[in-house]
Symmetry: C2
Subunit: 218 residues, 2 copies
Amino acid sequence: MSEQNAAQISETTAEQTRHAILEAAIKLFGEKGFEATTVRDLISEADVNLAAVNYHFGGKDGLRLAAIDHLATQFRKNGPGLALANIDRNAISTMAPEEARESLRFIMKTSFQMAATKGGADTRARYIQRELIQGGESTERFFEKVFSLQFNLMVQLVARATERDVDEELTRVRAINLIAQSVFLNLARPLVLLAMGWDDYTPDNVDLVGDAFWLHHG
Amino acid sequence: MSEQNAAQISETTAEQTRHAILEAAIKLFGEKGFEATTVRDLISEADVNLAAVNYHFGGKDGLRLAAIDHLATQFRKNGPGLALANIDRNAISTMAPEEARESLRFIMKTSFQMAATKGGADTRARYIQRELIQGGESTERFFEKVFSLQFNLMVQLVARATERDVDEELTRVRAINLIAQSVFLNLARPLVLLAMGWDDYTPDNVDLVGDAFWLHHG
DNA sequence: ACCTGTATCAAACATTTGTTTTATTGACAA
DNA sequence: TTGTCAATAAAACAAATGTTTGATACAGGT
């Protein structure tokens, strides 16, 4: 166990810096965007040495990809996956439309609430949503690691809610349009606050938004 | 008229460079983002001298604001405002719900179609949508110059479609959620294409999307 | 005690980036 | 022709940025 201990101990302290850098990356990339965030911003936020980013992640671009993986792990545990986890996946195919709609509304409210609430979850969500629109490798990585699974569950629920088939493109686009509403309200927060005349997303505001999503079928 | 002519002629050629730079800015800011676009990228795209950006707009930041103003003008003529223009604004308040819904669907289809179709309009839309999420001065500028007017019309239509009051916050959020769907499908195009298994927004795809927006009331 | 390899640190490096400077052009008026 | 002034062009500048280098600390194994 000797060499394991050696590895363990050194990796433990190293893991702290790795973690600090990843958290800083998610925070700053989410707030200001990837290009606008400098390596010196990152190491200042994480309180580590300048060379640490290159040493541990091979560079700024490497950090970007590592941050997605890091986030994907967290996201599966604490993200909207949590809301989806309460749904019995095997039961979806036999759900009544009304029940599927209720599940969808619950998921929408919960995921938006988590994303909009201050305290870490919001910057994480903001980072993810920035990557979504970026295109390129990071978007593909995020899609397969995080988005794909949950999206398919949404599609199944929408299919039941609208009494249509899961394979229909219309069903899939409708699922996207549900996600769009939640994402936009977070990503375009500055504009939404202006349009609503709000100063911030208060609990009351979040409640109201949760009831305003369009999700009935036509 | 002598000094006017002098001004006119020189301003004419100068206006060409101004215009070329503005178009390049909208294109590149939309494609890559503001920070990721260098002044040298811009002058290369516009085929003008390096100093031209600073000479005409005072700097990269000045160009950003000027591009919004430039876009606001075009947008009022050729943007979604066109779709809204077909609606008799005075008639909205007495519209039947069904008629208001039809108007909304028409606006959604038309504006998405224009934004998704290649040929200039798409990069313009992408630029606008990037500014929306940016925050800060540019977002405020865009909100008051472009978004505000059209948003209020949407609110009025949603109010009629859902038979609720224009002053209700629920009505306003619902209007935002309509816009969200169209914006997201354009802005998150890389993700949407992955999720749908599409290569691009073909006319058929655009048609399908146009029918998939959620806008019935509940 | 000595060696080994990982991790951290300060300093420096090579580019890139936004901006400025200086010179030149070209059109129009006198 | 000559002078004037807005516009353009090429070169240079200073600051910022991602990355690399060489030295040092330090823990664990021999």
